[in-house]
């Protein structure tokens, strides 16, 4: 099931194949590469054309690919998703943008009733190779509905695949792989990290789309997260290292299907797991991971699986969001509790 490693034409010289990019720029370049590679790839969303998107992710694309491939759509999320379904049936590969996480819900019906089910309903005669891009997560000091983490609803829905990038390299490659995938993919982008930079090799994909990745090895405990929380986990691990505690950090990257093999392997070595996510903990992806790990690694657990998450409240006013969101201190506090077991 692993997709072949993608090699895209980068520039000729080896050095300029590695560029320092923000996630935002990496996504933009990845989208451009996908549009160039396949004339059936379409972008659609509110304000993505002339404006280039409220986060500039689609900046410049309409100018270069035209209004029929980069659509400024009416203000209607159900319409964006529903028409994308029709376009996909027609043979296109639509890439929908939902402007903010909190606005995906008008489209939820189309996603759950049609996008997720058509392949099954027609036993494969209809394929929906579409991508729904969603800037998600908090930490940008915003008003209501702009800081949500709704990924669990979609991971819970059979027929969808759900991924989240945490860094510019994954942003550049994963968006292209998602567009290439013949299944519908919810693509969650960590909006608070859009402007963080890192080197990106644009000639060679680091690996297949639906795989988790160990970012840092350690022995004391395992930290697992995705999207915006990876930065927090890595910072926590660096801080812990100063005290002589080496933490292993794993980026899930794919939330459905979960690739937990590396997590099981890690837990069998460390015996301790802390899962980190902004989303509220009740009935969430972190719940799923805890359940699976306790089943697969039961005899290895030195401590119960602990979770560091947003609270089970609506996202609070922005003055309180730093308290709400998991941060380095809360993660390390959980690590301490785990170690003390």
């Amino acid at each position: 099931m692993a997709a072949p490693t993608m090699n895209r034409a980068g520039s000729d010289s080896g050095d300029s194949a590695v560029q320092t990019l923000t996630i935002s720029k990496a996504l933009n370049m990845g989208l451009r590469a996908a549009m160039e590679a396949n004339p059936k790839v379409l972008m659609m969303g509110e304000d993505i054309g002339k404006l280039g998107g409220v986060f500039r992710i689609t900046d410049g694309l309409q100018k270069d690919f035209g209004e029929q491939r980069v659509l400024d759509t009416p203000l209607a999320e159900s319409g964006i998703i529903g028409t994308a379904v029709g376009l996909a049936i027609r043979g296109y590969r639509p890439v929908c943008e939902i402007q903010f996480d909190g606005f995906i819900f008008p489209g939820f019906d189309q996603i759950v009733s049609q996008v997720a089910k058509l392949h099954y309903r027609t036993q494969g005669k209809n394929k929906l190779p579409m991508v729904i891009r969603v800037p998600f997560g908090g930490g940008i000091g915003a008003v209501e509905h702009h800081s949500e983490s709704p990924e669990s609803y979609f991971a819970h829905t059979a027929g969808l695949k759900v991924v989240s990038c945490s860094n510019p390299t994954d942003a550049y490659w994963m968006i292209q792989q998602a567009i290439d995938c013949d299944d519908p993919v919810l693509f969650f982008e960590p909006k608070r990290r859009y402007y963080e930079k890192a080197p990106v090799d644009t000639t060679k994909a680091p690996g297949p789309l639906f795989e988790s990745r160990v970012l840092r090895t350690g022995t004391a405990a395992t930290l697992v997260g995705y999207g915006p929380m990876i930065r927090v986990c890595l910072d926590a691990a660096n801080a812990a290292a100063e005290d002589g505690t080496e933490l292993e950090v794993i980026d899930l990257r794919t939330l459905s299907p979960l690739d937990l093999g590396p997590v099981y392997d890690s837990v069998r070595r460390t015996g301790r797991l802390v899962v980190v996510s902004e989303a509220p903990s009740e009935s969430s992806i972190t719940s799923e991971i805890a359940a699976k790990v306790q089943q697969e690694c039961f005899y290895s657990l030195q401590a119960p699986v602990l979770r560091v998450t947003g609270f089970d409240t609506p996202y609070p006013p922005s003055k309180l969001e730093e308290e709400f969101l998991p941060d380095l201190d809360r993660v390390l506090h959980a690590v301490d509790r785990s170690l003390a077991w």
């Binding site: 015996g271 039961f298 005899y299 290895s300 657990l301 030195q302 077991w341």
Partner: protein, 468 residues
């Protein structure tokens, strides 16, 4: 070949249970087609026309105009293969298609034939299974009919906890899983270790905080060489721990199997064995018995095999797997023996064919061999009755546990001088208590009592053996 089908009164509306026949649109002999209206019925709500489910010929109208018929009762018989030859005796009251009992115009909320409640969008809810479907490889486990390979002992559970054999003394009594009790506290890796090493966590006391069993606790519980159970001393505590293994482990399992499978009844009989002791004294001087040791146990063995002829139930076996009680023509008599390795119960085979002298010899040999730890596996198996001689320890009686695979066990108590009434006078006599535990599935109270009385009578008056 004519094939008859009967169409039952369907449930038509609002959960009604009956309807009245208003008019028949067909008569006997008419040909009918599928969906043809054959009858008009009246429910409380309205008149309803019913379509025919089959093509065929009407052979019987089973209800009259004006008659009220319950839902589900057949109202018409139709021959769906009228061109066939001779008719079978009775029509088959079965609908044509697999999953139907005739028509159903079930409206929302109404029960349809088959029991499902009609819904707007599909077949409606269906009752789930009330019984579990059989899984492969799930035959019931056979009750232990034969004696297990490992030596089993049936020690007497005396009123006070006693280690009957001179075996190494166990430390604190091993805790047994109580129903409703708590699971021993241990982390998953410690659990796995215990499982892999065969350590029962229920038997340990945890040395970790809050009584949690630690890895060290488990490792210490098994830190014993295989040859003999080794006790370890806990650092800083006044307890000694001995691993559960070997004979004790097997004995314990057998005791549990027996005690919790066979319904035990114990009956007691106190007898005056003075005549038996007098006989014993006489035999000592007789030439035939000169070099043979005759003990009360010898007499008890003889009494048992004789009485067992009259009450063969005590010598039988409950074979649950075969669903049979097995009556045996032989008595392989087991004698509980205390050995350095623990309790063993070697058997005297065909004890019922032996004379008193032969029994004495066999029992003597058996005891010696057992004490030396040299009893062969063959002699450990196949017993049909056991005697446990608690008397040698000076104990009066007890409630012995039956050996798995047998149906009764006799405890022979110590012989003491006790006051007894003889011819109206209280005199000191040699008195002994017998205790018979029997499996009430196999042995009823009458048989058990009969047997015990017979044994007692033989021991109290050995001359009674002449009557057998």
């Amino acid at each position: 070949m004519p094939q008859f089908k009967q169409f039952p009164m369907p449930d038509t509306a609002e959960g009604l249970t009956e309807a009245e026949i208003l008019t028949w649109n067909v008569k006997v002999g008419d040909a009918v087609k599928v969906n043809q209206i054959i009858v008009e019925i009246e429910t409380a709500k309205a008149a309803v026309e019913l379509p025919c489910p089959w093509d065929g010929v009407v052979t019987e109208l089973l209800a009259e105009v004006g008659q009220t018929v319950n839902v589900g009762v057949p109202i018409i018989t139709i021959d769906v293969d009228p061109t066939g030859s001779a008719a079978p005796a009775a029509p088959a009251p079965v609908a044509a298609e697999p999953a139907t009992n005739g028509t159903s115009s079930g409206k929302i909320g109404e029960e349809m034939p088959g029991g499902r409640i009609a819904t707007l969008v599909g077949y409606g809810p269906r009752a789930g299974a009330a019984k579990r479907r059989a899984r492969k490889g799930s035959e019931p486990v056979a009750a232990p009919a034969a004696v297990a390979a490992a030596p089993v002992a049936a020690p007497v559970a005396a009123p006070a906890p006693v280690a009957a054999a001179p075996a190494p003394v166990a430390a604190a009594p091993a805790p047994v899983a109580q129903p409703g009790g708590y699971v021993p506290l241990a982390k998953p890796p410690v659990r796995k270790l215990a499982k892999d090493l065969g350590v029962d966590l229920y038997a340990l006391t945890g040395s970790g905080a809050n009584g949690v069993i630690t890895r060290e606790d488990v490792e210490q519980a098994v830190a014993a060489p295989v040859a003999a159970p080794v006790s370890t001393v806990d650092n800083g505590t006044r307890e000694r721990r001995v691993a559960i293994k070997g004979v004790r482990k097997a004995t314990a399992q057998a005791m549990v199997d027996s005690a919790f499978t066979a319904p035990h009844v114990t009956e007691f009989l106190t007898i005056d064995v003075t005549p038996m002791m007098e006989l014993r004294a006489r035999l000592k001087t007789s030439p035939a018995f000169r070099d043979v040791k005759v003990t009360p146990l010898t007499f008890a063995a003889k009494a048992v095999v004789l009485a067992a002829r009259r009450t063969p139930d005590v010598n039988a076996t409950w074979d649950a797997a075969a669903g049979e009680i097995v009556y045996k023509d032989y008595v392989h008599l087991g004698i509980a023996a205390a050995t350095p390795r623990g309790l063993v119960v070697p058997k005297v085979r065909d004890a019922d064919r032996m004379s008193l002298r032969e029994l004495a010899v066999a029992l003597d040999q058996l005891a010696t061999t057992a004490r030396d730890g040299k009893t062969s596996p063959a002699d450990m198996m196949g017993g049909t009755f056991t005697i446990t001689n608690v008397g040698v320890f000076g104990v009066d009686t007890g409630t012995p546990i039956i050996n798995p695979g047998e149906s009764a066990i006799l405890a022979l108590g110590a012989i003491r001088d006790m006051p007894w009434v003889v011819d109206g006078q209280v005199v000191p006599r040699k008195v002994c208590q017998l205790a018979l535990s029997f499996d009430h599935r196999v042995v009823d109270g009458q048989q058990g009592s009969q047997f015990l009385a017979d044994v007692g009578a033989l021991l109290a008056d050995p001359a009674m053996a002449m009557t057998y």
